[in-house]
Symmetry: none
Subunit: 207 residues, 4 copies
DNA sequence: AATGAATGAGAGTTCATTCAT
DNA sequence: AATGAATGAACTCTCATTCAT
């Protein structure tokens, strides 16, 4: 599972799936970038789909671990969310290729895409749990936790994705302060916040 | 530009690009779903890329118009953002196929993808302008407008995308209240907000 | 179904399937011998299997028609069998390639092979019917008709097949007198026949 | 030549060549069914062709011995033929896999197939000799011995082959009485035989 | 303005064979 | 004597594009 060849195939595959997308990445090019013969890939992975699946599984597992292992469950939900934002940015910064794959290849009805979404859902669930705890303790405003979690995930991911393409040399961690503030405190400043009634307080029991 | 044939090719193409993605959608299937001969598509569009580009251009133009025409520039930035959230959700709800294409096909280095991003950037710029106005008038907390705009766009888009795949029958507009509250007021409730110092107030001049 | 291209693909396919067998015949070579591009074959036939099936169907249909149309149902079973031997040899002589395919590719558990056998069984059934009629009228010695029919088919086919490979220039029809005599009158001469009791008379009702 | 490994490779190869045919049987599957590593096969056999040739040689040698050792040269040609029919059926019943290989893989222009036919010809020659003796002694009707021998071989083989696929559980020896009668006495009953002149008496010297 | 038969470069995959251990 | 990871040539099949009609 971690021979030198397997490793180098793995690396080349991430590279190329990120660069060209699943469909346009070719096994020929993966092989040549991994400095192995094409047959060697098929000796280690049953098919292109399986290579991709393996990579996605390892990737999301790593995302899950990298981010959530940093979250201290004894801290407040607010602090936990703040950690998630920071660590997810750090992960995306480190694994830019995987980040691109993640946000591009998860949407569709292929088996591979469904499976990918399942792994992603698993990660977002963790955010959802923190939200629920915060709502329970009234530290957070009431929100449908599922929507909230995906909103947070989208906020971080899209900001990261945009910067990966528009400013490739930028350190994505620089986005953390702004994203944290926006996600936790919202856009509207204190001063005007009380006055407005645009946003209805959601009933605490509706869900 | 809008003959009956062109229209039906257009519809079929959106359908299939959304269903299968750019690479897996075939001209054969587009032709058959549009009830025209394959040659006919090439009579109207130079290539698959061009068909896709045309579709992306019309789509983002429509997104731009559908959403921004509803924004009243004489209202407050807060109200404008609220309108954008609602109208973007309405648009995504109406054009789910395009929404999927948008979020899946924009990321990569192909000409087609770059062009797609340029159109998208144009749309997000409009959000950015509103942010800047709000920050200027101190109605909004200070944030790097670019990051903020993409964060908002990501928040709405990802929540929508998730629900498109997990609850296909749901009316996406139902996400509006939660998203609006999260984006404008943030997650943290009033009570605890003052106490915490986790989120540093960003210096007003840094950008 | 009978365009010039389809015809030439058909011819080339028979040629090559006979020359190399189903597995070793390549679509590339079939295409080049048919003077069409490889894609053209796939435009007309879904797959190599389907091309083969089509060819087998046409071939066995032709065998069936060529041989059985010559059989006069008002003549005696003996005469009918004699016709079948002669006409099957004529067919094999004319379509040597198909003859080789027939006897080589029908045995196995692939869908293609099962289907092939079904067509073959259909042909041998016709021989079986004649046998049954002859047995009924006591013109023929009692024999299990199924076994008898396959015995006749095997006798003709194997003799033909052997000569196709060992004496490619020989007219297979020259085999007709010997085969007819052997099949109808057996090997043993009149003189000795009565004396021997080796072959038990089969009970007329056993089947 | 007969180590435990060689034996088990041999068995697995017969199995798979019969099940899938020469081309579709893979060395991987043969190795795995023989419970040896793939390299081991190549240690014992130079190539797939050679493995097949070895197997064919052993098989036809066994056929030759199994059948002809039962033929008593002091008995009449009629009795000898009767023995051959019975014993060939017994052999085919016992080695069904080899029987299928025999009748499927012998026809073609590959070296392997030519060699196979040479072995087969050797066996059929033995039948031919008996025929010649019978013709000489006027116990048999005059027939071109070569044609007659292949006719007999085809008759037995095709009947066996058909039943192997259509009634896998049947004992092939049950075919012996019918085949013996057909081959020795022919289809036509005594009563009508004299009357008919359809089958010309072949001139005794033509060959 | 519209067609669809024809194309061929290029994709994913298989597998007999080799060879260092 | 035996192994199995590695190879790459060769295979089937796909599909955007062309062009004569």
């Amino acid at each position: 599972m971690a021979s030198a060849k397997t490793q180098s195939i793995f690396k080349a595959a991430i590279d190329l799936f990120s660069e060209r997308g699943f469909e346009k990445a070719t096994m020929d090019e993966i092989a040549s970038r991994a400095h192995v013969a094409k047959g060697t890939i098929y000796y280690h992975f049953k098919s292109k789909e399986e290579l991709f699946s393996f990579l996605v599984q390892e990737g999301t597992k790593l995302l899950h671990e990298s981010v959530l292992s940093k979250v201290n469950p004894r801290k407040t939900p607010t602090e936990q969310i703040e950690t998630i934002i920071r660590e997810q940015l750090r992960f995306f910064d480190h694994y830019r290729d995987f980040c691109v794959i993640l946000l591009r290849e998860a949407w569709g009805d292929d088996v591979r895409q469904r499976e990918f979404r399942r792994m992603l859902v698993h990660y977002v669930h963790a955010i959802e749990q923190i939200m629920r705890a915060g709502i329970e303790s009234e530290e957070f405003l009431y929100t449908k936790a599922e929507t909230g979690a995906w909103s947070i995930f989208g906020s971080i991911s899209m900001a990261a994705l945009h910067h990966i393409f528009s400013e490739p040399d930028m350190d994505l961690l620089l986005l953390a302060p702004d994203l944290t503030r926006m996600i936790l405190k919202g856009m509207v400043s204190q001063i005007t916040k009380d006055a407005e009634s645009l946003v209805d307080e959601a009933p605490r029991k509706a869900q």
